[in-house]
Structures are given as structure tokens and as C-alpha cells.
Amino acid sequence: MAQPAAIAVQGLGKVFRRGDGLSVAALAGLDLVVEERAFVTLLGPTGCGKTTLLRILLGLEAPSGGSVRVAGRVPVEGQVPAGAVFQQHSLLPWRRALANVMFPLEMRGVRRRAARRQALDLLRLVGLEEAAGAFPHELSGGMQQRVAIARALAHNASILLLDEPFGALDDRTRRLLQAVLLDIWESRQLTVLFVTHNIEEALTLGDRILVLGQGRILEDHAVPLARPRDPLSDAFAAELLALRRVFAAAAEGAARGRDRSIEA
């Protein structure tokens, strides 16, 4: 490998202790490498450990075992190795859109005037310049997520982590925002790890699709489609069907594995 990987995870494990004292493994021996400037989608059903993985990559959660490197460093809480976009309602509701985008800049000690200018540029980039003075509750769900993307970009990190950012949006808005995100990925030469449970979304966006289940990567699927991708094309439809089969087989395999482990 000529370049160091943007994200490198080896043998990652995370065990949660539940209220009743039982331990539950959210992640078990997960290996993951994301090359620089790749767009990788992480696909998996709810509760498969996707969010836990992202929280560990952001330093919000400490791993129980294994090694994690983001941009070559061990993620630490409060030190940002990557920009993050969360699921809906993650904007600070008492701050206007502009002030939300300025937040990471303020935390980094950027001077107010410079922070303002940068934040305005980022809002322009996501097409929301005129909403700078609006409070989050005055914005639609799609607009809120645009602001969240602008805020994630304010870190100036080359890595972007997204946790089902468009999950709560209607179809049209989602396609729009997917296009915005792809544009930004290309123009800013970012590395993106995008978590979703939507197979079509994973296929629309990713160079690689990692199918997650049972706390590890079950399938690493390279997407052979060229960009821009047309979801109405035959090639896309065929690939979607193939991916559904991969996903189903992986899920079935995982279920068999689970049964075996219960019997054992």
C-alpha cells in the first residue's frame, strides 16, 4: 500500500454491560480499512453495531479491544480526526444555522470574523446561504442536514463520517442531498464513510459496500458502476439485485452462525 489508510481498524471489539449485568458484544473482531479519497458505505440492519463503530471512530466510545486509527491517530474525545454528520436533530437548537457551522471553528480557537466568513462559505457550498440566520426549528429536515454537513466540513478534516444522515428525509430530498454530498466529496477530495441501512442508498453512493452484521464485516463488495450513477439504468438495477442477494446471504450466514454459537 503506497498511501496510509485514512481509517484503519483491526480486531475491534466492543462489549456493553447491560442493566441486568449481562454482557453484549456490539462489535467482535471487526477489521476495516478505508483508503484515502474512497467513498465507502457501511450497510447493515438496525442494531448491528454501525453506530457503535462510528462512535468509536469519533472517540466518543472507548473500544474494548483491537486497534483504531483515524488519519493515523487514535481517536480521542474532543479532538477531531474527522467531521461527523449524525442522524436528524443534531444541530444545537439555541444556535442559528451560521452559529452551528461556526461551532467547530470556535472550539478550535478560530477568530470570530474568520470563523464567520468560513461558515458562510460552507453554507454557500451546501446551498443554504440565505438560511444563515435561521434557527434549526425554522428549517426543514433536509435543510437541517445540509447545515449539519456544512458543520462537519468546518473541521477541515479530510475524512467525513456520516451516520444515516438522510434516513429521516423524503425520497426527493434524499436524492438531492446525496448529489450534494457526492459533489463535495469529489470537489474537496474527501474520504467518506457513510453508514446506512438502505441498500439503494449504499449502492448510489459507495465505491465499496461493507455489509456489517454480528459485529463484524460480513461482506466487502466492490461496486463496478461508473459515476454518475443512474438509479433507473439496467446496470444499476442488476447491481442492486446482486447486492440484495449478497446482503440476504450474509444475513442468513450470520443467522446460521448465531444459531451454531447458541447450540455450542
Binding site: 462512535r55 469519533l58 472517540g59 466518543l60 474525545e77 474532543g78 479532538q79 477531531v80 461527523a84 449524525f86 436533530h89 443534531s90 444545537l92 437548537p93 439555541w94 444556535r95 461551532f103 467547530p104 470556535e106 472550539m107 478550535r108 434557527f135 434549526p136 426549528h137 458543520r151 473541521h155
Partner: protein, 285 residues
């Protein structure tokens, strides 16, 4: 809410509607004061006292009405101020820690049901008649007339009255800050110290403001009763006591009206501040 109207018209309507009970109250008062053998002073007599707030009351051993009100407000200000600077930091501290909440809950629940006035005899024994003036300026305190009237015993009672609403609301506000906001801030580069200023306090501010409004309300309620006790030579409560002693009830009623008006102004002001700091909360789920 009628949003279609002109704002001035809306304001006029609200003020007009709010005025109706006052008019009714005055009418009842007027009729009651005209009935035979009543001790209730007429509206005009009370109005006469209110119209001359700086006049020394002729038969009363008391400062003028305006000065009395000012003394009472000073006591409230210092007592409430003390509550604010103790209850907010403590509430934040206890709100952040689950163990601290469990530690303090029983004693707080016990303490907050004790009427502030119940402490009055004890605070007088403990603090005597020392005042802010006597603490700051010793025997020259009399030169600082108003500060000499701010007795520590009364300030302590007002502190007790307003501490718990502010403390409890701050605590609940802080404990209720959504985990997501904290994680978002951490993921956006906030250190632990910055969390307090940039997430916890702004997120809890609406709750803290509710506590402040309730705390001020309780302070205004308690001040008059606290001033009934010996050791005071001024204040609206003292004004009421002395006017009862010489059966000049128009003075007592005038001070009741003043307290009510002060409460009205303070509450409207605090509501305005509250809606400013918590506008985002009503629509937030």
C-alpha cells in the same frame, strides 16, 4: 394567538382584556368600603397615600412608602442575588452527577418544605441585628442608611425562600440536557470545560429561567412576612405592621398595592426574558 392582527392592536387587546378584572376588583372594593361600619378604607384614601409616596406618614413610625418599598426591594435583591450565585452553580454541579443527585435529594426535599419565615427567630438569634451596612462600615453604618436596613437575618430568610426553586430547576435542567447535544459538541472538538459554557448552560437556560421566575416570586411573597418580625425599622411589611397598630388601614392597603404592582412588573419582565432564552424549546421535541 391572533397573528393576523396589527401588533399594536394585539397589544391593545391584551392590555384591555387584562384590565377587566382590575376594574371589577375596584368596583367590589368601592361597594364594600361604602357599606356601613366597615374598616375597609375607600379607594380614594388609598389613592391619596399612593399619590404621595415620598411623604412621611403623619401618625406612623415609619419611613415614607417609596423608601419602604425601596428597602424591601433591596432586601429581596440581596437575598435573591445570594440565592442565584449559590443555587445555579450548585444546581449545575449536582445536575451533572447522578450520585450527587441521590446524595442531596432527601435533604433538599425535606428543606424546601420548611417555610422561610420559620427560620426568622433563629436567624435573628444567630445574626442579631447586623446588617450589610454594619458588616461593611461598622459603627458608621448609620451613615449608609439604606444598607443599614438590609439586615442579614432577613437576607438569609429571602435566600432560603428563593434558593430551592432556582436550585431544583437548574438541577433538572442540567440533568435533562440531551446526551446527543453533548456528543455532538464533543465530536465537534469541544473539551470538557467548553461543554459547560457552550452546551450545558445554554441547553439548561430555559429551566434556569423558570427557577429564577419562581424564586423571585417566592422572595416577594416572603419579604413582607419577614418584615413583621422585630429588628426591622423599615420595609413594606414594617409599614403594614405599624399602620395596623394605629388603625390606619389605608397605609396597609397602599403597600399591598405596591407589592402587587412590583410583582406584576417583575413577572412580566421575567416572562419576556424567559421567552427570549427559551424560544427554541417550544418547537424542539
Amino acid at each position: 394567538m391572533d397573528t393576523g392582527r396589527h401588533p399594536a392592536a394585539t397589544l391593545l387587546r391584551r392590555v384591555g382584556l387584562g384590565a377587566i378584572p382590575f376594574v371589577l376588583l375596584l368596583a367590589v372594593w368601592h361597594l364594600a368600603s361604602r357599606s356601613a361600619g366597615t374598616l375597609l378604607p375607600a379607594i380614594g384614601e388609598v389613592g391619596e397615600v399612593l399619590a404621595h409616596p415620598f411623604r412621611e406618614p403623619p401618625n406612623l413610625d415609619s419611613l415614607p412608602l417609596a423608601t419602604s418599598a425601596l428597602v424591601s426591594l433591596l432586601r429581596v435583591a440581596f437575598g435573591f442575588g445570594a440565592a442565584l450565585v449559590t443555587a445555579v452553580p450548585l444546581g449545575i454541579l449536582v445536575g451533572c452527577r447522578h450520585t450527587a443527585r441521590e446524595l442531596f435529594l432527601p435533604i433538599v426535599e425535606m428543606s424546601r418544605s420548611i417555610s422561610p419565615v420559620a427560620w426568622m427567630p433563629l436567624t435573628i438569634i444567630l445574626l442579631g441585628f447586623s446588617s450589610l451596612g454594619s458588616v461593611l462600615y461598622g459603627t458608621r453604618a448609620w451613615e449608609y442608611g439604606l444598607l443599614d436596613q438590609v439586615q442579614l437575618a432577613i437576607v438569609a430568610v429571602i435566600w432560603w425562600a428563593s434558593f430551592f426553586p432556582v436550585f431544583l430547576n437548574t438541577m433538572h435542567g442540567v440533568a435533562g440536557v440531551r446526551r446527543l447535544f453533548i456528543e455532538v459538541a464533543l465530536a465537534n472538538g469541544a473539551r470538557r470545560a467548553a461543554l459547560l459554557r457552550h452546551v450545558i448552560v445554554p441547553a439548561a437556560l430555559p429551566a434556569i429561567m423558570v427557577g429564577i421566575r419562581l424564586g423571585v416570586g417566592r422572595a416577594l411573597m416572603v419579604i413582607v412576612a419577614a418584615e413583621f418580625f422585630p429588628g426591622t425599622r423599615a420595609g413594606l411589611g414594617y409599614f403594614i405592621t405599624t399602620s395596623h397598630q394605629v388603625a390606619q388601614y389605608e397605609y396597609a392597603l397602599a403597600s399591598v398595592v405596591v407589592i402587587g404592582l412590583v410583582g406584576l412588573v417583575v413577572n412580566l419582565g421575567l416572562y419576556a426574558v424567559e421567552s427570549r432564552v427559551s424560544h427554541w424549546q417550544a418547537k424542539e421535541r
